[in-house]
């Protein structure tokens, strides 16, 4: 078996999310160094605040301000911070119940080591320098001895807050990135290896005898594994096509051009490719074509007419 192909694959999206009224007030508040909670019908204060009561599903909108000091309710020591996490140096993950709140907020605690952390310890918010209206406006928590501070304590009573600030934050952009090492599996690895030798190799279903190109390792009709290699082409027939009038970004091809389904000789499934070497308005169903490989290319650059007579419709009608 040839070497299994692998390649890095990065999926990266900036998710743009709009905020509801409670989330908007909370995140704008963080920008202004104010921590807001929300009151539930039974008088509890939820921090971080949500827009619907997690128990009753009732809409909740009564905002209150709580302290930026609080108590650790549980913790976990993270000696190897991962990408995107709040601190680069080892830190503790913590759930912190802020003074005046009845629920806990997840964040990081900057501490010298696990021996310096315990459930019940007092902490306070360390604000980020450049705040934008995001949960990361809290840089992290830090240990807090309480002496000399008048910000709050465990008996802290939350005070009503309108939730209104200048220039409210109404959305966040949350970048997400995941890194993979992609491997296409056995069948597609074989296909790609053959392509690099300018051969197109499909696989035959042992049950219905159809030849699939490109092969995916299974016959989608019979649900059984395909394995028998069958070289197809190099010539084929255009079964159907479209004319592309929109120029793709980073693609150096003049529009309009033709993109077509091509049934290679010997294949029972059409693959698709660009048609060149003929004016776009002369391309037709039944046109006979062959692959054109660019210098060092690992797959056909495009397909061009062979000059043979057009194929009869009956020959390819099942491959449309």
């Amino acid at each position: 078996m040839p070497e299994v192909l692998k390649a890095p694959l990065v999926l990266e999206f900036p998710f743009t999310r709009s905020l509801g009224p409670v989330q908007s007030a909370f995140l704008t508040g963080l920008r202004e160094r104010v921590v807001l909670g929300v009151k539930t019908g039974d008088g509890r204060t939820l921090v971080p605040p949500v827009e619907y009561d997690p128990v009753t599903a009732e809409e909740i909108r009564d905002l209150v301000e709580v302290a930026s000091t609080g108590t650790v309710t549980t913790w976990a020591w993270n000696h190897e911070p991962r990408r995107g996490q709040p601190l680069d140096a080892p830190f503790a993950w913590v759930l912190v119940r802020l003074d005046g709140a009845d629920t806990a907020l997840l964040h990081a605690l900057d501490a010298p080591g696990p021996d310096a952390v315990h459930t019940g310890m007092r902490v306070r918010v360390r604000w980020a320098e450049g705040r934008t209206g995001a949960i990361t406006d809290i840089a992290c928590f830090e240990p807090y001895e309480g002496a000399g501070e008048d910000e709050g304590d465990e008996e802290h009573q939350p005070t009503a807050h309108t939730g209104e600030f200048e220039d409210m934050v109404t959305g966040i952009v949350a970048p997400a990135r995941l890194d993979y090492v992609y491997s296409p599996g056995r069948a597609q690895t074989d296909y790609i290896h053959a392509l690099s030798e300018q051969r197109t190799v499909g696989e035959r279903c042992p049950s219905c005898r159809k030849v699939y190109v490109p092969p995916r390792g299974a016959c989608p009709t019979c649900g059984v594994a395909t394995a028998e290699h069958v070289e197809v082409g190099p010539r084929g027939t255009i079964t159907t096509f479209c004319i592309v009038n929109i120029k793709a970004k980073n693609l150096d091809i003049e529009v309009p051009y033709v993109y077509a389904h091509i049934a290679l000789d010997g294949a029972d499934l059409a693959l698709h490719g660009r048609i060149g070497g003929i004016p776009y308005d002369q391309v037709r169903m039944g046109l006979r074509v062959e692959a054109v490989w660019s210098e060092g290319g690992r797959y056909p650059d495009h397909y061009r007419p062979t000059g043979e007579p057009d194929a009869d419709y009956d020959v390819y009608k099942e491959l449309l």
Partner: protein, 354 residues
Amino acid sequence: MRGAAVMREIAVVAFAQTDHRRTTDELSEVEMLMPVLHGVLEQTGLKTADIDFTCSGSSDYLAGRAFSFTLALDGVGAWPPISESHVEMDGAWALYEAWTKLLTGDADTALVYSYGKSSPGSVRDVLTRQLDPYYVAPLWPDSVALAALQAQALIDAGDTDEPALAAVAARSRTDASANSHAQVRGSVPQGDYVVRPLRTGDCPPVGDGAAAVILAAGDRARELCERPAWIRGIDHRIEAHGLGVRELTDSPSTRLAAEKAGAFERPVDTAELHAPFTAQEVVLRKALRLGDDVRVNPSGGALAANPVMAAGLIRIGEAAARIHRGESDRALAHATSGPCLQQNLVAVLEGDPR
């Protein structure tokens, strides 16, 4: 739901799983999946055309392949067009959907499968993408970190300690010695902290795998299986998404699902619990009121093999297989989803009296 006299009797009649491995680079998802699909069909003698309903569970995020579940359908033989559905969840929830489909009487047989290929990505990071996108996901708290917060809460509450967690790990891997499909078997060192208080041994292996089950109703089940594993009850419940809103040392959703599934009506002899982290078994034993006489995770559980999206379905399959083999008469199977046991499914399975 359970018990009503009008309800159809539905059973698990076949179960197959792959050998779970750290990587399966040489296989695409459908190539990994096909042997288990063929396995359950062979066990029952059914052909693709005999299956009335097909339902699967998987997540494209694991391998980073968009619409991988449609490619996986190639392994089913979905022509002529079949009645089919998919959940972006563990296969246990696909089984729940198939069970409801059979209850309606629209189908007598169902194929349920699920698969997870975690090896191409970093599953600890991938799972952060299921969290609250406003307040939590921007901090990238990985799955081990969240489980560690729950473990510390249990230690603080006096419900467990590190030696007790190590004992859960050791028992699971020892039991897995008899399970040829398991990824981690036998004596395994408890290792260093991953995120304290959880050590390597407290965490599930990361790997690839797939599983499939066939459900059948009434007499059809009796035709297909010598001793069907009848689903006497099955229910699933979810808790609030806010971690700080929940009581992490308990699992009220598991308890309620178990109650609705009839688990507390009579004792079970076996429980297959989907506890990827050792501390979570402590929570589940408490919520399910399992006594010391209940055989917990004879397969080794998720600590021995945890193909994400399939590990819950495997719990149902393992419990059913013990009934098929006559090693259990009444078994509980549990599946979980989300951080710190956020969502839980409980099924109660029984064999006919011998």
